[in-house]
Symmetry: C2
Subunit: 197 residues, 2 copies
DNA sequence: ATAAAAAGTTGAACCAGATTAACTTTTTAC
DNA sequence: GTAAAAAGTTAATCTGGTTCAACTTTTTAT
């Protein structure tokens, strides 16, 4: 019987493309199961992000550090999400982001070489990655619109609404920088909210 | 001899995937040449975006209108760029954006049906769309980072640097809302800049 | 267990950028 | 060509959110 981690990924894949058992197993065989300890980095500036990572359990945070030392969260990933520095991964360039584990985690890693191999091997695999990219594209688009058009309080409420699971699991400073505000201000918003109801 | 509009698109495609003459022509045959007058809409909220649009000449602006009537520019597209409401196009849902011509323009339109047909017909076509989506993904990611981490003045200077061609061609109110600031403030930044050197 | 470090809170002072309003310049439509 | 509408400018005022600083609570390492 397959390990449960591969079971999660199987479901994820089959939701997006129809594969035969054989096709599925071939695809899965290209992934590498890796355990990551809390605070461990899976992507670091200066090094090329060699893997696309599927999170089976645990949580990650991607962030950039700018000149003055401030860090800005770009993405979170929990179970059933993907994370990497795509710019680095796709273009084989040094990463500009950090990706760090917020909890002890288990991930399935697909190297760029194996991804290319899959894409060439079978039209359906290519379809899978195309769909993933299209979804990510639409997701970031929506995020861009929200950041551009909505004030801080709405962004926070909205995030709570849509991703309460993540909101309650990640450190507050990380969430604040993801939402584009300071920890202090987020702390006030939180307080205001809980005292309201 | 082919029309120059198709020539532009051919170059665009061949930069991303290697196709035989026959494969290229089949792909091109699925596009529809359309002339669009200034101020004409090619995507409107409430209607599904039926086409992905390649701009041969002219300029477009995608924007959303929020409750209070303010509009926010989400994307510009000039020659050799694509534009549509991808959320609507991919998911066959009513659009939430407007896409309007800023100049008299010529575009090549690919319907969702024809895109699906191409994706199924040949692995290489699928590769083309996958590459497009991946690039868009990386692009929006970078944009998200800039918006999150940089102050208004930097965002403007940076845009001038990277997209001077667009900056000098689109109305100021559209650029201001794209950069996440008011027209008045952008006007001040411009002034400050020109008086500096 | 316990000390040290990291994360989160609270309040006062401040500022980047928004708002309002009156104006000038450019574009559009007839 | 010309009037009206749209776009852009300028200055005064205002505010959502930041910064700074002192503090409390939670987490981490030994």
């Amino acid at each position: 019987m397959v390990q449960p981690e591969f079971e999660f990924l199987s479901n994820h894949i089959l939701k997006r493309v129809q594969l035969t058992e054989e096709e599925l197993n071939f695809m899965l065989s290209k992934f590498k199961l890796t355990k990551i300890k809390k605070r461990q980095f899976i992507v670091q500036p200066g090094f090329t992000a060699k893997y696309r990572n599927y999170v089976c359990s645990g949580a990650f945070r991607a962030y950039v550090v700018i000149d003055n030392g401030e860090d800005h969260t770009i993405q979170f990933a929990i179970e059933d999400w993907w994370i990497t520095d795509y710019n680095s991964f796709f273009n084989d360039q040094p990463a500009t982001m950090f990706v760090v584990a917020l909890e002890d985690s288990v991930i399935l890693q697909l190297s760029r070489e194996n991804e290319d191999l899959l894409k060439q091997a079978n039209h359906k695999y290519e379809t899978f990655f195309r769909i993933s990219a299209e979804r990510a594209q639409a997701f970031h688009f929506r995020q861009l619109i929200t950041n551009l058009t909505q004030p801080a309080e709405f962004r926070y409420e909205n995030f709570l609404d849509k991703y309460s699971q993540i909101a309650n699991r990640v450190p507050q400073y990380a969430l604040a920088s993801y939402l584009g505000m300071t920890t202090e201000y987020l702390s006030k918003l939180r307080n205001k909210r809980t005292s309201k109801q």
